[in-house]
């Protein structure tokens, strides 16, 4: 990918004309490929997409998200997943197939304010996304601290093949759970490590558009570790 192919675009701007496949945040009109969001356009061999600079989280099937329980009915919990949609967690997901709404007490498992690591099971924009916590590494989060970043910067926090997040985890010995919705839980036994990991995450959120970010973060992590 050449440097000239990557540039800053605003909605309505024609990115290119040609035989490309439109991907995220672009539309094809006639032969023109037009951006629908503010962001950086990227042209690959056969496709064009725009990486947004900002924006709300739009749920996608199979995404790992961090949710906060905000209420429940007798059948399901509602989780705030930092989106314009509310995550629906059915009771049967937690209680199992023998879930009985009249006898099983919902609050015995999850209360208002509890944080969960969940996966989006199903979402089609016409109904609220269905989420699940029935899997390994999913479920209630009991320790750590919640950090909020812009959902559009999550890929930057993870880095190429997870390099960025590994660098932070190695340097601070923290366990970091990243939700695709921009909520991140940092757990660390050592308070200094926790602070440093949080600082690194916030730094990535603020400077996601900068080049050499991985080096900068590494420098920050090393400089304080003395």
């Amino acid at each position: 990918m050449g440097d000239n192919k990557r540039r800053f675009v605003i909605p309505g701007e024609v990115i290119t004309t040609g035989p490309y496949r439109p991907e995220q945040n672009v539309i094809l009109e006639g032969k023109k490929i037009i951006a629908t969001k503010v962001g950086i356009s990227e042209i690959y061999d056969d496709s064009v997409k725009v990486i947004p600079l900002t924006g709300k989280y739009i749920p996608k099937s199979e995404d790992l998200v961090i949710g906060k329980i905000i209420s429940h009915s007798s059948l399901s919990w509602e989780a705030d997943i930092n989106s314009c949609y509310v995550g629906m967690l059915p009771g049967s997901d937690v209680f199992g197939r023998n879930f009985q709404p009249d006898t099983d007490e919902m609050t015995s498992k999850l209360k208002k304010g509890d944080l969960i690591a969940a996966r989006i099971v199903n979402f089609d924009r016409s109904r609220d996304p269905l989420i699940t916590i029935a899997d390994r590494e999913l479920g209630k989060i009991d320790s750590g601290e919640l950090v909020k970043i812009s959902p559009s910067k999550v890929p930057r926090l993870i880095g190429k093949q997870g390099t960025m997040i590994q660098a932070i985890e190695m340097a601070t010995h923290a366990t970091i759970t990243i939700g695709q919705n921009g909520l991140v839980v940092v757990a660390c036994e050592n308070p200094d490590g926790l602070l440093k990991a949080k600082k690194a995450i916030q730094m990535i959120d603020e400077q996601a558009h900068m080049a050499n970010l991985t080096d900068k973060v590494k420098a920050m992590l090393e400089s304080n570790s003395v």
Binding site: I69, G113, I141, G144, V185
Partner: protein, 271 residues
């Protein structure tokens, strides 16, 4: 609207853990309010205005002064009315529409603090007894919500009233007529300062932010006047205070209030 804000359990635990170590989540002392910034004259078309930032809470207050009919039982006094509104841009959970219970309470607590302190000598605002008086209307708009709107709105209203200019009216043919170009300072007698404290467990915290607000057991807003006397008080929240805690809160309200009052006093001198 704040009632719909749910704080996550991890943060709640963290706040409680820190309190036991004598610390607050944002590093303040228990009796330390957030940094207060007051600007006045921010709305050129209003008769008086102020923008107050209390940490990340921001309130803009505008004062409108106009002749009105007096209240039937107070024909020899001017009118003072204070309202409040939380704008939808202030917080994700704030919605447009009729005010909720907490917003009504906010307006009433701010109104009561200023009214009961006798900040403005309303008897000097009479144009014609029982017929026409001057009304002072203070409208608070919350533009950023990070807890403790009581103190921010109270401070903004006080600052705006303190620096407002009252236009002059004369009764001509039984009707109040504006005299162009003549404005006077409001008849100020004292400066009320509201100090809100939250109780979390056994700890009393001054000026709780949104996180502390969401996990407090009870709160109390105490307004003091320039002499350090308590002139209004409002208790809220599900739980209560012990008598000792009330006395402790009163002392905090007086000492913290005195510092905030100094800041507001400076506005008057710079007027």
């Amino acid at each position: 609207m704040t009632s719909t804000f749910v704080i996550d359990q991890l943060k709640r635990n963290k706040i409680n853990d820190l309190l036991e170590k004598g610390q607050r989540y944002d590093g303040r002392r228990f009796d330390e309010p957030r940094p207060l910034v007051i600007e006045t004259g921010v709305i050129p078309k209003a008769d008086g205005s102020a923008r107050v930032r209390l940490g990340d809470t921001e309130v803009v207050t505008g004062i409108k002064i106009q002749p009105d009919r007096p209240f039937p039982d107070m024909g020899d006094k001017g009118i003072f009315i204070c309202t409040a509104e939380i704008l939808p841009l202030a917080h994700p959970t704030a919605e447009p529409g009729p005010p909720g219970e907490d917003v009504i309470e906010l307006a009433r607590v701010v109104d009561r603090g200023i009214r009961e302190s006798g900040m403005v000598d309303l008897s000097q605002l009479v144009l014609e007894k029982d017929k026409t008086v001057i009304g002072i209307f203070a409208d608070n708009s919350v533009t950023d919500h990070d807890g403790n709107l009581f103190d921010a709105c109270s401070c903004a209203s006080t600052a705006a009233i303190l620096t407002c200019k009252i236009p002059k009216w004369e009764m001509i043919n039984d009707k109040p007529t504006l005299v162009e170009g003549q404005k006077s300072d409001p008849p100020i007698t004292t400066i009320p300062v509201a100090v809100t404290m939250a109780r979390i467990g056994d700890y009393i915290l001054v000026d709780p932010n949104a996180d502390e607000w969401a996990c407090m057991d009870a709160r109390i807003t105490i307004t003091t006047n320039s002499n350090g006397n308590i002139c209004a008080l409002q208790k809220g929240g599900d739980d209560g205070f012990t008598p000792e805690q009330i006395i402790q809160c009163s002392e905090i309200a007086i000492s913290v209030g005195a510092k905030i009052r100094q800041k507001i006093e400076q506005l008057r001198q710079g007027r």
